[in-house]
């Protein structure tokens, strides 16, 4: 693990800034924390020293955090950006500027530590995944809060909270996810999602299905040795014969 991260925390709300900087300063992986109360102050700090990441408030007077993040992308070697916000809807824009993570205030220690692990991975260059993606295995990683899916109503990406996803179904090399807002194509293979979402309550119950068990309400045995998982909305997801026993153990059924 890399130690000694240099972090610049930026927030126009002094109390929120005090809170996040205190959390950062008490993190073992952080060596140095500087603070700024505006985007202008942040730019001055950036011109005077090297930072591994900015923990950046979205809504600030004059230059907003999102505008600063866009500006930073023009830097030759920009610091990673982790957004802080009081409103989760800003995650859509955060994805567009390739933020490394997105934290909703007030931030828990656990969530902040997960963001710092992403910063470390980013700094080490060991993280070969796309920006904003989660760790590829369960070794201390956390599942992502949101995933970007194809927007069926035109261009761009739509962000879907992973907790709202009932199940993912293999669709060629990609996955079709079924969530509270509908069905969307996610350009990631089911095998990768199985790794990414392992800590988020998902289970591979069939070669073509990855199910969020928190959305299942019934496990129903079938006469041929297979089973079906009944979801909240009544949808039945097949469970492969060879997966039934493991699923029963996991569910203590």
């Amino acid at each position: 693990m890399t130690t000694g991260l240099a972090i610049l925390a930026v927030d126009d709300e002094p109390r929120a800034l005090a809170d996040v900087s205190r959390l950062l300063e008490s993190s073992a992986s952080v060596d140095r924390v500087a603070t700024a109360t505006s985007a202008k102050e942040a730019l001055v700090s950036l011109s005077g020293g090297r930072f591994d990441a900015l923990f950046l408030d979205v809504a600030m007077p004059e230059i907003e955090g999102m505008a600063l993040a866009r500006l930073l992308r023009r830097f030759a070697d920009p610091p990673a950006v982790v957004f802080l916000t009081g409103h989760p809807d800003a995650a859509v824009e955060a994805f567009e500027v390739e933020a490394l993570d997105f934290l909703v205030k007030p931030v828990t220690r656990e969530r902040l530590d997960a963001a710092l692990r992403r910063v470390e991975a980013h700094v080490q260059g060991a993280d070969a995944r796309a920006p904003g993606a989660p760790p590829a295995d369960g070794d201390g990683g956390t599942a992502p809060d949101v995933v970007a899916v194809d927007n069926p109503r035109g261009g761009g990406k739509r962000l879907v909270r992973v907790e709202t996803i009932a199940f993912a179904q293999a669709s060629g090399d990609y996955a079709r996810i079924v969530c509270e807002d509908g069905r969307f194509l996610l350009r990631t293979p089911l095998t990768q999602l199985e790794k990414d979402w392992a800590t988020a309550g998902f289970a591979r119950v069939h070669r073509a299905y990855l199910v969020n068990l928190t959305h299942a309400v019934e496990l129903r045995a079938q006469a041929n040795g297979t089973a079906v998982l009944v979801m909240r909305d009544g949808t039945e997801v097949p469970v492969a014969r060879r997966g039934v026993a493991a699923l029963r153990r996991r569910l203590h059924a």
């Binding site: 109390r15 929120a16 809170d19 505006s38 809504a59 007077p61 009081g86 409103h87 007030p106």
Partner: protein, 157 residues
């Protein structure tokens, strides 16, 4: 900023989360301030989340006072607020009917300008007026926002 629908009005998720973040920051250095912030937030949410009902204008103005104190927790030293206490029109309004326009105007002001802001709510006939100005920088133009209560007045039924 998107709002979250709730019984008795709408509550800004952004506002609530930022107040909680401010309260968290006080826990170690000033536990009493943290407790006060949480108590005020409790009062704020109680006013807004109780089942839909009409409240007196004075109750709503007290709610505006709570809102402004919560803003002071977020931005210590930036707000100088003055809200009428008593002697206001005996009418009924919806919870949040005055706080929402006050909040929108104050958010816009804080988003555009650094420094201290003076917030005054005044009765103007059957309506209310919100005055915003920057006491430390007189060259900044003051703002006057009329809050039309005619659309808000509720039956006591």
């Amino acid at each position: 900023m998107p709002q979250h629908a709730a019984a008795g009005g709408t509550v800004s998720v952004h506002f609530v989360n930022n107040v909680l973040a401010a309260a968290a920051s006080y826990i170690e250095e000033d536990p009493d301030a943290a407790r006060d912030a949480l108590a005020e937030l409790g009062a704020f949410l109680t006013h807004r989340l109780r089942p839909a009902r009409a409240v007196s204008l004075q109750e709503e103005l007290d709610h505006v006072g709570v809102y402004l104190r919560l803003q002071e927790f977020r931005f210590p030293g930036r707000l100088d607020s003055d809200v009428p206490d008593g002697a206001v029109a005996r009418i009924l309004v919806g919870p949040g009917d005055v706080q929402r326009p006050v909040g929108a105007a104050l958010d816009a002001w804080l988003a555009r300008r650094p420094g201290r802001v003076r917030v005054r709510v005044r009765t103007a006939g059957d309506d209310l007026e919100l005055h915003l100005d920057a006491p430390d920088t007189p060259d900044v133009a003051a703002e006057l926002v009329s809050i039309d209560l005619t659309k808000s007045v509720r039956s006591s039924e």
